[in-house]
């Protein structure tokens, strides 16, 4: 017994020695995540948060029809007049084209995903804006990061308010989208369109100040010129033509319009000198089938190539002169291969990989804004000069000579041709207040092409609007069912 007791003593001592745990035993930390404090301790860390925010702009969430900014630009164009959907293919974007996707407020539906996307960007930007002032680093680094975050926030609100409400002019007092300028978990009310635009402009002006003198190291980063470009875009939508003209001019600076050859090089590389802002997408970060080129590059074996070819309307195609290099951005009718009028403008660089860069802003848009704003301000001379500079690089024999309404209409036509498929259609349709008129008949919308279902809509039709997500109405205490769009 005594012997046993001794043995037991050893055993117990051994057991206790092994098992008595240090306090650290229960302290565990993640390896693929990091705390906000760590991120915002330095400007270097804050830069990581900023880069993540840019990455979100080309990340695919939820399904193959959502891949950041470019997916919603496709929505904007497919709800417009100039892209014809050849066939259903795998079904992606079919219901956007038919105007039924935006009529649903359900989870994972189009409206809800757009809402989610822009508000997630806004939250990430808000956290950078709220914390950057205390990050260790040089003032220049802090200004650069904060300026970009402000511009991202403004850019996001601009798309939100335009997807969820009619255009600015004439609707200033209509419900806007909830504004958040600091991180929070408490929901805000819809507010008004005017309030949204006031915030957008304030952010952009502050960003312009902060970013002045800062170098754009990669094309995905927002520079002062890109900020000015966004201001021009916003001002055009607001019909503030003087601002639009001045900022468009400032934004493009000395950038010359690209040549016809470059125009037909695929729109998939940030090395294009006309690109002011674009996302570089490498092989690793490409989202394959859930990518812009899967849906828009009809020559690749993505979803577009699997049946849902995107085509230009015959109506617009026929308005492009034969001498215009931009006409070759579409498959000429009567030739073999792809269906007639198929878009060839957007092509990823390599057939065997999915890397292709995403265009977010280029000088051509600035030329068109300046031309349109000048024309609307009565400065036809400048309008024509700017327009001619832009178009002549693709069509050397271009020699439009009209004035007044004819000139304005020519600018708007050139805008549709030049910026074809670059995501401006829905905002332009709302802004121009002429409703939706989709051309039909051979080569246009409808049979034998995919049934567009919706062919005409009056100006300011509620059908243009996204629905407020049901989940927002359910969770935001500032919302009631009455806040839903009509």
């Amino acid at each position: 017994m005594k012997n046993n007791f001794k043995k037991f003593g050893f055993l117990l001592a051994g057991v206790l020695a092994v098992s008595s745990c240090k306090k650290e035993y229960l302290e565990t930390l993640p390896t693929a995540d990091v705390s906000g404090e760590t991120v915002f301790a330095t400007t270097k860390g804050a830069q990581v948060a900023l880069e993540g925010t840019y990455r979100m702009m080309y990340t695919s969430y939820t399904n193959h029809g959502n891949f950041g900014q470019k997916s919603y630009e496709i929505v904007s164009d497919l709800m417009g007049t100039d892209i014809v959907l050849h066939a259903q293919g795998y079904g992606w974007f079919n219901t956007d084209y038919q105007y039924t996707a935006n009529a649903s407020a359900a989870d994972a539906g189009r409206s809800e995903r757009i809402w989610y996307y822009y508000y997630t960007l806004i939250n990430n930007a808000n956290r950078i804006i709220a914390n950057i002032d205390n990050a260790t680093g040089t003032p220049a680094e802090r200004e650069d990061i904060k300026g970009q975050a402000l511009a991202i926030r403004a850019h996001s609100y601009f798309y939100l308010v335009n997807f969820f409400q009619q255009t600015y002019k004439g609707n200033e007092t209509k419900p806007g989208v909830p504004l958040y300028t600091t991180p929070t978990s408490v929901g805000n009310p819809r507010g008004t369109v005017q309030q949204d635009y006031t915030q957008i402009l304030a952010d952009l002006k502050q960003a312009e100040t902060l970013l002045t003198g800062k170098a754009q190291t990669v094309k995905s980063h927002i520079s002062v010129a890109v900020t000015q470009g966004i201001i021009a875009r916003v001002a055009l939508q607001m019909e503030d033509y003087a601002t639009a003209r001045d900022y468009a001019k400032k934004a493009r600076g000395t950038i010359a319009p690209m040549s016809g050859a470059t125009y037909n090089a695929g729109f998939s590389s940030t090395t294009n000198t006309e690109w002011m802002w674009g996302l570089t997408v490498n092989i690793e970060q490409a989202t394959i089938y859930a990518s812009y080129f899967s849906h828009m590059d009809n020559t690749a074996s993505g979803y577009a190539g699997l049946g849902s070819y995107k085509k230009i309307t015959k109506a617009l195609y026929d308005q492009i002169p034969a001498t215009d290099a931009r006409k070759t951005a579409f498959k000429a009718p009567g030739t073999t291969g792809l269906p007639d009028y198929t878009i060839l403008k957007f092509r990823k660089p390599s057939a065997s990989t999915w890397d292709g860069d995403y265009l977010l802003m280029r000088a051509g848009e600035m030329y068109l804004i300046e031309a349109e704003a000048s024309a609307r301000l009565g400065d036809d001379a400048n309008a024509l000069a700017v327009l001619t500079t832009l178009v002549k690089t693709k069509n050397p024999s271009y020699a439009f000579a009209g004035t007044g309404t004819a000139l304005l209409n020519e600018i708007l036509l050139q805008r549709r041709i030049e910026l074809y498929g670059e995501g401006f259609q829905l905002n332009d349709i709302k802004r121009l207040k002429q409703g939706l008129v989709r051309p039909t008949g051979a080569g246009n919308h409808g049979a034998p092409n995919f049934d567009a279902v919706t062919y005409t809509l009056p100006d300011a039709s509620p059908k243009f609007l996204m629905r407020i997500p049901q989940s927002e109405i359910n969770t935001n205490k500032s919302f009631t069912a009455a806040d839903q769009n009509p």
């Binding site: 229960l26 565990t28 693929a32 909830p178 978990s185 049979a447």
Partner: protein, 1044 residues
């Protein structure tokens, strides 16, 4: 063994010399259950003091005088008597005495207790019952055998398990799954890696008294798995050989054939052109005929007449001259009758101080879908040894190498053969055909019939899933998981100071799954990048290390057991994966030859718990019992100051049958009242190991610049979710143990629910984890066993169990929470359907109608409803819960001499099921997608009364989730039927073996449902929604068990 033989020999010697005038009777005592000889059975002469004991071969020999009656008795068996008469050989069989409660022990946390003195709620299923079912994972065997559980099958992918809920749904966001414990240690390895042949028993612990000592994680109940151990007696050598066939257990939905398909699609097109495009009916009809097989129609024309004459533009009927050129059945080429083979060899035995059990097994289960299977090699060694009179040591080790091939049957992906073959229109062939003659087209490269991928350069661009053919790609692709699972469980147990015992256990599990996702380079999704392969290593290492001190003391009528212990739980998961594309040659999925890197990542998760615990059990005269336990756990998921949670239980039992006032009631064999209350914890948030921290998710890199996005909000105040569990029950056995059972009522309140509180999406983060909300599960569990007939040759046994529970939310973070098809609200269950209500079809125009509330000025429903034809504007309503009202199981077992026969029925009454699969087949006219035959009932003519709306392509506003596809989920399933025959002893002796049994079984023999379409599987998920996963399968098995 040696000692036993010696004493027997001495006994016999003594008997022979002392009572020489009497004659010798010999005989063998065997188990009625499996015919194995029973050693150690006491054989007494009635009315005398003399007796004998059977030897290791079950043989006894005893001196008797004529007319003597022998009385046989053994622990765990019913006693029996046999008169000797003039016989010199008396053979008897003893029946297992399931009702001799006194001897039955129950597995409880950190030990075992006698069932009679157990104050908690448990159900045990032993190997005899388990082995009737031929299943791969033990989780699939419990349904219908244990009261108080709800089992959902989760589909039939080979090697997959079922999910089990004990006593309702205990949590909203944290796991509601029970804790698994293998041989006394918390187990988070692979359940399917454990061979059914090695499992001795499964004990389900249901209340606080039973499970509270696993306080930290016992909130959802505990399932204790016990592996087999060696027993004294002749060493056993058992070989089990089973072979079987599997077919679909749930039939496929009935779908339209080619003729109906063209006619219906014409009608959908005509209706679109007429009603949406505004053409006249005649023009629309003509245009519908014109475009039917065009590029924006069905593309394929499976008949021998021109596409525009295929359907009559006026009548909508198929051209009578049209002859079918092809109609391939995708199911025939993608599915098969799967073979199932299951072999196991085990050897066990024990000497005085050491016992052992060794087994090895091989199982191969082919799926009902081609190219899917599951293969497993497993071994086990259980060894216990009394190395000193005060020290015992043991080890239990098992390992399994498994290979789950082609884990493809999930979701709507083109790689899912179930979804693909179901949704593919009937007119699309597997093999390419000549468009005029319908003749097969031969691939010049292979000389075989060429497959049709639905590409433009083949027969046309198929509107359904172009550029795919699963018969072509599945054999070339590889989507496999190869888990390696090893458990090593060792202990040392020291006895000292007479009543003390110290046991230290180290249990470890190493799980390493190597997964491949390879899309081949030749055809399908990755042909454009010359193949894509992802390799993933998922390594999980767990150990549980505990030290338990027990003091066991009896003072006269007072019996006391005190236990105290300490435990560490350590879990680490490492995941590493990489993807490359660009394979120069087919035939390998390895990354080395692939030219282009796509993505790679690795990360680690850590999870730890430390606990101190104690339990005190006391009883007086084995009549009055009280028990109490306390446990405190520190968990790494929680922040400082909230890491430690306290859990406890208190319980009592009263064995009325031991009272003098019931002693005279001899018809009562056992009667016990019991009650318990306690609190347990739950912190299982899955892979959310850091719920209290506000985290930025790394890896969101922008080209080469590292990037991060905000991913979660901080909540340092998070504490353990608690389950407050009350149980009152009665155990009884009566009429000579012929009727026995348990009735229990419980109230299980889950408090401080770890809740993903939804935030407005516009704040940029959709949820935050908080302790908000309370719900309860209240219910009653009944289990009854009855033997209507019990003679020496024939026995009929009926076992019934029934469960009813009510799940109700009593507190929520906000008034209502909507998620998918459900809405949480105080007073409702957590799975109450919240969906739009279908109001049938407008007889005037065939529109689908839905109800909409009329609102008053304040936006509140007035109670009045109108019907509308736009589902987007329809109101939502509560439409019942997916939770069943009653679930249960009924087993009938018949034993006649060497034959045995049993049937297990399981069933559910009540509960709702939303059949989205069927909804997908009732579309309004999506080109290329198959249609249910029920679409033939669609509205066609004004005034027609039907419940299927008209078909019309692209009519998006009239279909969606609604009560139209919500069905009653009640069902009855003949889950298992088995018949067996045991070889008579004399044949076995002739063959030189101990015994043998042959048997045949059918698992999932037949499912009866009472609502919904053919093809619906009401047991698919607890939430009552369908998915596109693998249907369960029916297995026919023939088996042979030989005891060598």
């Amino acid at each position: 063994m040696k000692k036993l033989l010696q004493s027997l020999f001495l006994l016999m010697l003594f008997a022979v010399s002392a009572i020489a005038q009497e004659r010798t009777v010999t005989g063998t005592v065997k188990s009625s259950e499996d015919g194995t000889p029973l050693p150690g059975v006491t054989v007494k002469i009635k009315g005398a003091r003399t007796g004998a004991i059977t030897n290791a071969s079950g043989v006894f020999s005893i001196q008797v005088s004529s007319g003597a009656v022998l009385v046989f008795s053994s622990v765990g068996y019913e006693g029996t008597e046999a008169s000797v008469g003039n016989k010199t050989n008396v053979n008897v069989t003893l029946r297992t005495d399931a009702q001799s409660l006194d001897e039955v022990t129950v597995q409880v946390p950190y030990g075992t207790v006698k069932k009679t003195s157990f104050t908690g709620s448990e159900s045990t299923v032993n190997a005899t019952t388990l082995r009737r079912q031929q299943v791969t994972s033990v989780t699939r065997a419990l349904e219908g055998l244990v009261p108080g559980i709800v089992v959902t099958n989760g589909g039939g992918q080979p090697g997959s398990g079922a999910s089990i809920l004990i006593r309702g749904v205990g949590s909203v966001n944290a796991s509601s799954a029970p804790l698994y414990v293998l041989d006394g240690a918390v187990y988070n390895g692979s359940i399917a890696s454990l061979s059914m042949d090695d499992i001795e028993s499964v004990t389900v612990l249901k209340d606080a008294a039973a499970a509270a000592l696993y306080g930290s994680r016992g909130a959802n109940g505990v399932i204790m798995l016990k592996s087999k151990q060696g027993r004294k007696g002749t060493p056993q050598v058992n070989a089990n050989l089973r072979t079987g066939w599997s077919t679909r257990g749930i039939p496929e939905y009935d779908r339209l054939g080619s003729k109906d398909y063209y006619e219906m699609m014409w009608e959908a097109t005509r209706n679109r052109l007429q009603l949406a495009s505004g053409q006249t009916r005649a023009v629309a009809g003509q245009n519908a005929s014109n475009v039917l097989t065009g590029a924006n129609g069905l593309v394929y024309n499976a008949y021998n007449v021109p596409g525009n004459t295929l359907v009559d533009p006026t009548t909508g009927k198929l051209n009578p001259n049209a002859q079918l050129l092809w109609e391939d059945n995708w199911s025939d080429v993608l599915f098969q009758t799967g073979k199932r083979q299951d072999f196991n060899l085990n050897i066990s035995g024990a000497s005085d101080k050491t016992d052992y059990y060794v087994s090895m097994g091989y199982l191969k289960e082919e799926g009902t879908a081609k190219f899917t299977d599951y293969e497993r090699y497993n071994i086990r060694l259980n060894l216990n040894s009394q190395v000193r009179n005060w020290l015992k040591a043991g080890v239990s080790m098992d390992g399994a190498l498994t290979d789950q091939a082609n884990n493809v049957a999930t979701g709507t992906a083109t790689t899912n053969p179930f979804y693909y073959s179901r949704m593919m229109g009937p007119i699309y062939p597997v093999y390419q055909r000549n468009l005029t003659t319908g003749a097969y087209i031969v691939d010049p490269a292979t000389g075989q019939n060429a497959l049709d991928y639905g590409k433009a350069n083949q027969m046309g661009l198929r509107p359904y899933a172009p550029n795919s053919n699963l018969l072509g790609t599945l054999p070339l692709d590889d989507r496999s998981t190869k888990p390696f699972n090893i458990n090593a469980n060792t202990y040392l147990e020291a006895t000292f100071l007479k009543d003390f015992k110290l046991r230290s256990t180290l249990a470890s599990t190493y799980y390493d799954a190597y997964a491949t996702t390879f899309q081949n380079s030749l055809f399908g999704d990755a042909d454009n990048v010359a193949g894509r392969s992802t390799k993933q290593m998922n390594r999980q290492f767990t150990y549980t290390f505990n030290q338990v001190l027990t003091w066991n003391k009896s003072f006269g009528d007072h019996n006391l057991t005190v236990l105290a212990g300490h435990e560490n739980y350590f879990f680490r998961q490492n995941v590493l994966s990489a993807t490359r594309t660009g394979f120069p040659f087919p035939g390998t999925s390895e990354l080395a030859p692939a030219a282009t890197p796509e993505a790679s990542t690795s990360y680690q998760y850590d999870h730890r718990i430390e606990a101190y615990f104690s339990r005190v059990d006391y009883n007086f005269q084995n009549k009055y019992f009280v028990s109490g336990s306390f446990r405190t756990d520190g968990g790494s998921r929680f922040a400082d100051g909230h890491k430690w949670g306290q859990f406890y239980s208190a319980s009592a039992a009263w064995r009325l049958s031991q009272e003098n006032f019931l002693k005279s009631a001899t018809w009562i064999n056992e009667l016990k009242l019991k009650a318990s209350y306690g609190e347990q914890g739950n912190e299982d948030l899955g892979t959310n190991y850091y719920p209290t921290l506000s985290l930025y998710q790394l890896g969101n890199n922008n080209v080469n610049a590292p990037g991060a996005l905000i991913n979660s909000l901080a909540n340092p105040d998070l504490v353990w979710e608690k389950s407050k569990n009350a149980n009152i029950g009665v155990d009884f056995a009566m009429f000579n143990n012929r009727l026995s059972g348990t009735v229990e009522v419980y109230n299980r309140v889950s408090d401080n629910l770890l809740f993903p509180v939804p935030l407005p999406l516009s704040t940029g983060i959709s949820t935050i984890t908080q302790n908000i909300g309370t719900l309860y599960n209240r219910g009653i569990d009944v289990s009854l066993g009855y033997s209507p007939v019990r003679t020496s040759n024939f026995e009929w046994r009926v076992d019934l169990n029934l469960t009813h529970f009510k799940n109700k939310i009593t507190k929520l973070p906000q008034e209502e929470l909507i998620s998918g098809t459900k809405k949480l609200m105080v007073g409702k269950s957590i799975y109450d359907f919240w969906i739009k209500e279908y109001a049938g079809v407008d007889p005037a125009n065939g529109d689908a109608l839905y109800y909409q509330d009329k609102l008053d000025a304040a936006g509140k429903p007035t109670g009045e409803r109108i019907t509308i034809n736009n589902i987007n504007n329809a109101s939502f309503y509560y439409k019942g819960t997916s939770l069943p009202n009653i679930t249960g199981g009924l087993t009938n077992t018949f034993t006649y001499k060497e034959f045995d026969l049993s049937f297990l029925f399981t069933g559910q009454q009540g509960g709702k099921f939303y059949d989205g699969n069927y909804a997908g087949l009732m579309h309004v006219g999506s080109y290329g997608t198959a249609w249910s035959t029920d679409i033939l009932n669609r509205w066609t003519t004004p005034g027609q009364v039907t419940d299927v709306p008209r078909v019309q392509n692209a009519l998006a506003t009239q279909s969606g989730v609604s009560t139209r596809f919500l069905y009653n989920a009640s069902f009855v399933n003949l889950k298992n039927a088995s018949i067996g025959y045991r070889m008579p002893k004399r044949w076995a002796t002739t063959l030189g073996i101990q015994g043998a049994r042959i048997f045949g079984t059918v698992d999932n023999a037949k499912l009866w449902t009472f609502d919904g379409p053919k093809g619906m599987d009401p047991q698919r998920s607890i939430t009552g929604v369908s998915d596109y996963t693998y249907p369960i399968y029916r297995t026919f098995t023939l088996g042979l068990n030989v005891n060598l």
